[in-house]
Chain length 351, copies 2
């Protein structure tokens, strides 16, 4: 099956990702401090073969501005490390690789690159579940709010004869256990492919920072804020089906391709791969957004997916409905507990 | 002054560059044999530091398909070299950098990459007159029908008080000597910047293949086919001015930003830079295209420039007029003598 490759909304219009990524940016800012700490304390410059270039990749970068903030921070932090170790004379040049699906709006990304950047910018089209770079060519990889996307929808979710058929729902948190297991199994496969590819590409001693929306250990999946919102989105769609605007079959055949793993699961996946040591692993508490802002954020990253499946004509009504449902529900959601991302800083082991 | 950055026509429509680049493709094919010869006979693999990656860049790549043919040939040829030298076990992975201005249609480029490619593809937005890559990071650079574009229009061409004011013309071949000297000086400056940047970026022993539309030594600039065509284009514009469709001032302030150097001048520029040895330098005789085909080719690479200066409403009429003028003139043009490109294969000296 062809890999899913649905980009965020490109350009810079009202609903574009570039204007509606503040929710993710908060995560980037919190991760920034941990990345700086990791580079200062854990990155060993002497491990790298001498080279004129320090290569950084942001995987699943979308169109900015978050990706520009993230890579600039990494460049600043590595420069500081060289200088603080008295190695200012050996300061390398930086080459930054912005990666996303080929259908991402790279034209928008390239024409909005920060003019004052101190790195050579490149774009890399393709799925990060496969190899994207030559072996041992990257020093630092960053990926924020991207690796939770599944590469495909497991086929049993669409099979009426399967116990994992996800009738009447668009996500796993309130579905039969078989549905969640199916999502989970796909996430494990995807993450193994992701880590396998990166293990080839990252130099020994190189680092990788991942930020993932996740589910704290012990919290039911259904209480995680992002899962709650997809549940509400599903209810809005059912509402529209009842009014004859869309068919129920359309809902049965739609599944939101994102899995928010538990912290334990992420750790287990890293252990299974075995090529990386976990240097830092921390929960990032996120802000509780306003219903309006959150609805816009969700639209920026879900619209292309929903438009492809349900058609463009339902979009405005659907997201208006969602905003209203958010207003009704947000007062009873505890963001401290349920709106959490996971930050992991990994180091490529020398095996 | 901001650098000129006018892309070819993107997308895949009737007038797109991707459908109208056969004129350039002929040059790519002829250059292919010379590149293969150069790699087989002149590339010394032992000069490179051991690395997992062989890095190739195509500068001024536009949107394909010519760039894909060119880089695939380089990859094939280098692979053959490794194998023929019994070094198949050391065969590196290939990383290819497709460069053009940030306003180039990279979305089109990325979504049409050959699916069976055996290299990691990346896009690099920016002017090749400046640095684009870390020092000593490229093994082979290719640039075809790109370096003849000037980075800016010299300001004296637009200055009514200057002897280089190019009144009533849009190019240099039939203008006052001061006009040609002004184009020439800008080309020298631009090529020096180009070579200076590449001298930093290309590893010692690395190679660079350039294809340029050029003027054979001893041939008057006005007889070169490409110059002839810009002259005809200028006459079409004057014709439209006489009929009141555009103003004469608009023509006075438009100058086609391309200089087709003599072979001697190219050699002199390489010598002045001093960082590269000329391994192969040959004229590429090109086919004589049909008036219709040539008009389409010209439209694909001139339309954005002309549209920006004169507005979109004149385009159809202008290129219809041009096609008619081609039909009247082509029978008396000798393509053997006048439609020539220059191929140069350079090697980065170890100084």
């Amino acid at each position: 099956m062809a890999e899913l490759a649905i980009p965020m909304i490109g350009g810079s219009g009202l609903h574009s990702y570039s204007r509606n990524s503040t929710f993710q940016r908060k995560g980037v800012e919190l991760a920034t401090e941990l990345i700086n700490k990791g580079i200062a304390e854990k990155l060993d410059l002497s491990k790298f073969p001498s080279s004129n270039a320090f290569r950084v990749a942001d995987l699943g970068c979308s169109v900015g501005p978050n990706t520009f903030l993230a890579v600039q921070n990494i460049v600043d932090s590595v420069e500081l490390k060289y200088k603080s170790q008295g190695l200012a004379d050996l300061l390398p040049e930086f080459q930054v690789f912005f990666n996303d699906h080929a259908s991402n709006d790279f034209n928008q990304l390239f024409t909005t690159l920060p003019p004052e950047r101190r790195y050579y910018a490149t774009g890399v089209p393709g799925s990060f579940h496969d190899r994207l770079f030559p072996a041992s060519s990257l020093h630092f990889v960053h990926s924020s709010f991207a690796a939770q996307w599944l590469s495909i929808i497991p086929k049993e979710l669409l099979d009426k004869t399967s116990p994992a058929w996800n009738k009447g729902r668009i996500h796993y948190p309130n579905s039969a256990i078989e549905v969640r297991k199916s999502y989970e199994a796909q996430f494990y496969k995807d993450m193994q492919r992701f880590l396998h590819a990166r293990a080839h590409e990252i130099l020994h001693g190189g680092m990788m920072a991942l930020v993932l929306p996740a589910c704290p250990n012990g919290t039911p999946h259904s209480r995680v804020l992002l899962n709650k919102t997809t549940e509400l989105l599903g209810l809005c769609l059912l509402d529209m089906a009842k009014r004859g605007i869309i068919s129920e079959e359309k809902i049965d055949s739609f599944n939101h391709p994102q899995y928010n793993a538990t912290f334990e699961q992420v750790e287990e996946i890293m252990d299974r791969n075995g090529c990386f040591s976990i240097e830092i692993m921390e929960a990032l508490p996120l802000e509780k957004p306003s219903p309006m802002a959150f609805s816009s954020v969700l639209r920026a990253f879900l619209e292309p997916l929903i438009e492809k499946h349900f058609g463009p004509e339902i979009l405005d009504e659907l997201f208006d409905l969602l905003c209203k449902r958010f207003e009704d529900s947000f007062s009873i959601i505890d963001p401290e507990e349920t709106n959490v991302s996971l930050f992991v800083l990994l180091q490529r082991k020398a095996i």
